[in-house]
């Protein structure tokens, strides 16, 4: 049952950026997860106080092990502990994986456009990994908007996949600071730039957009206005505010 709390053991903890960390969890009896699902994590203090938060899973189909990437939120209650204090060998409780909507299945036939804002890359990365591990030949394209190269998750893996995978195209878009030698200056993401760097509407892609609320709202509006059918767009948002910068 996915709704029961289960014990997970921390098997790895690797920094992604200065403020984030990828945490590997082993859960006895876990039978993999769908790409795009999330888990709930429950932390319990020594006096019994508990706090629960949801985190997207970054991996897919790894049997008893899954990975999440946690970005530390200023004033966060749970994320600072997960990023800074949790250690390999520690145990915590998880519920899930859950979710049957914002998911990609290896049997899905359509090309896929992924649009990530910042740490919104996490569930989309699980789709990329599931797609790469599958025989599914459909084209994937990722537009990854981030503030600077240093804030990027899965940098080497995305660089390598972008170079080598015959079925994945990766486009990075930097809004505050670009890597050395980048052909353009950092700037706000505009509708024109977004639309020029995604699969065209007539390719009929399935579209997954994940990021902060304002990022998702704005990108979605642009795509709907450009003629992408609303029924083809699936979104996942987090945070109360935040814009496209």
């Amino acid at each position: 049952m996915s709704t029961l709390w289960r014990v997970a053991e921390v098997v790895s903890g690797v920094p992604e950026t200065e403020s984030s960390r990828t945490i590997g969890l082993r859960v006895d009896g876990l039978n993999g997860n769908l790409a795009g699902q999330h888990i709930d994590i429950r932390l319990t203090a020594d006096d019994g106080y508990t706090a629960v938060r949801s985190y997207s899973v970054a991996t897919a189909g790894m049997d008893e092990i899954l990975e999440i990437t946690v970005d530390e939120l200023a004033n966060g209650e749970v994320s600072p502990y997960l990023v800074r204090d949790l250690m390999v060998g520690d145990q915590l409780e998880i519920r899930g994986p859950v979710g049957g909507w914002f998911v990609w299945r290896p049997t899905d036939p359509n090309p896929v456009q992924l649009i990530a804002g910042g740490s919104g890359i996490v569930p989309l990365m699980s789709m990329i990994r599931a797609h790469e591990a599958s025989e599914n030949p459909s084209q994937f394209r990722l537009l990854y908007s981030l503030k600077s190269p240093e804030t990027g998750f899965y940098r080497e893996e995305l660089l390598t996949l972008g170079q080598e995978s015959p079925k994945l195209t990766v486009d990075h878009f930097y809004t505050r600071k670009v890597p050395a030698g980048w052909p353009s200056a950092p700037k706000r993401l505009t509708a024109e730039t977004l639309l020029a760097n995604i699969l065209p509407a007539d390719a009929a892609p399935d579209i997954f957009i994940c990021g902060q609320t304002m990022f998702v709202e704005t990108a979605t509006e642009w795509m709907v206005q450009a003629g992408y059918p609303t029924g083809s767009i699936k979104t996942e948002r987090f945070g109360g505010t935040g814009g496209i910068r």
Binding site: R42, A45, D46, T50, A51, E77, V224, T230, T235
Partner: protein, 197 residues
């Protein structure tokens, strides 16, 4: 008691008895939607109730505004664990809308513009428990939060409070709606922590 995380202290924001189990209080109003927010002009909006016999009642925006309006102060609880306490809304009670509706059905499906559905037992919609709300915090409800109007069923998790509400269909059985078909609980009572199926 579960696994203890030594060194984890937390912020103790859940000591409030107004918070259901596993919820924390937030001051912001996060937006959670499965896809794009539909545009519905007030002039194009209507709210319908359709019974199991096919009888249909509908109100235009103007007719809807001419109904008795009530102010609602309530806490709302999202399944993603945030709660917002003391929110204020204005709208029409479902008791008003169901006044002349004859039905023997016990279940309903709420239909939204854009195709979203959610199932709510009729007994959860009546007796002062649910409204069609079009004002939030004294302002017209923003499109991102379901404007022109959304269902407000605050004693259930907030996905049951369908945004961009279009109407309510009375159902012979309890038929799972959108999230209820995608891993979420059929009832969604936050006090019983009915999050997932």
């Amino acid at each position: 008691m579960g696994i203890i995380s030594s060194g984890f202290h937390g912020k103790r924001r859940t000591g409030n008895p107004a918070l259901p189990p596993g919820q924390y209080e937030t001051a912001s109003f996060p937006v959670l939607t499965a896809g794009p927010a539909p545009y519905i002009a007030n002039a194009d909006w209507e709210f319908f109730i359709r019974t199991e016999t096919g009888q249909r009642r509908a109100w235009s925006w103007e007719e809807f505004l001419a109904l008795p309006q009530v102010d609602i102060q309530t806490d709302i609880h999202c399944v993603t664990s945030w709660s917002k306490l003391g929110t204020s809304w204005r709208g029409v009670s479902l008791d008003t809308l169901f006044e002349d509706v004859e039905t023997t059905s016990e279940f309903t499906t709420a239909h939204s513009y854009g195709g979203y559905t959610t199932n709510v037992p009729l007994q959860d919609l009546l007796d002062g428990q649910a409204w069609v709300a079009w004002e939030f915090g004294g302002e017209p409800l923003e499109r991102a939060h379901g404007g022109p109007a959304r269902l407000l069923v605050p004693h259930l998790y907030f996905w049951k409070s369908a945004k961009w509400i279009n109407g309510i269909e009375l159902m012979p059985h309890d038929v799972a709606g959108f999230w209820e078909s995608n891993g979420y609980h059929i009832n969604g009572d936050p006090w019983r922590e009915e999050r997932y199926s």
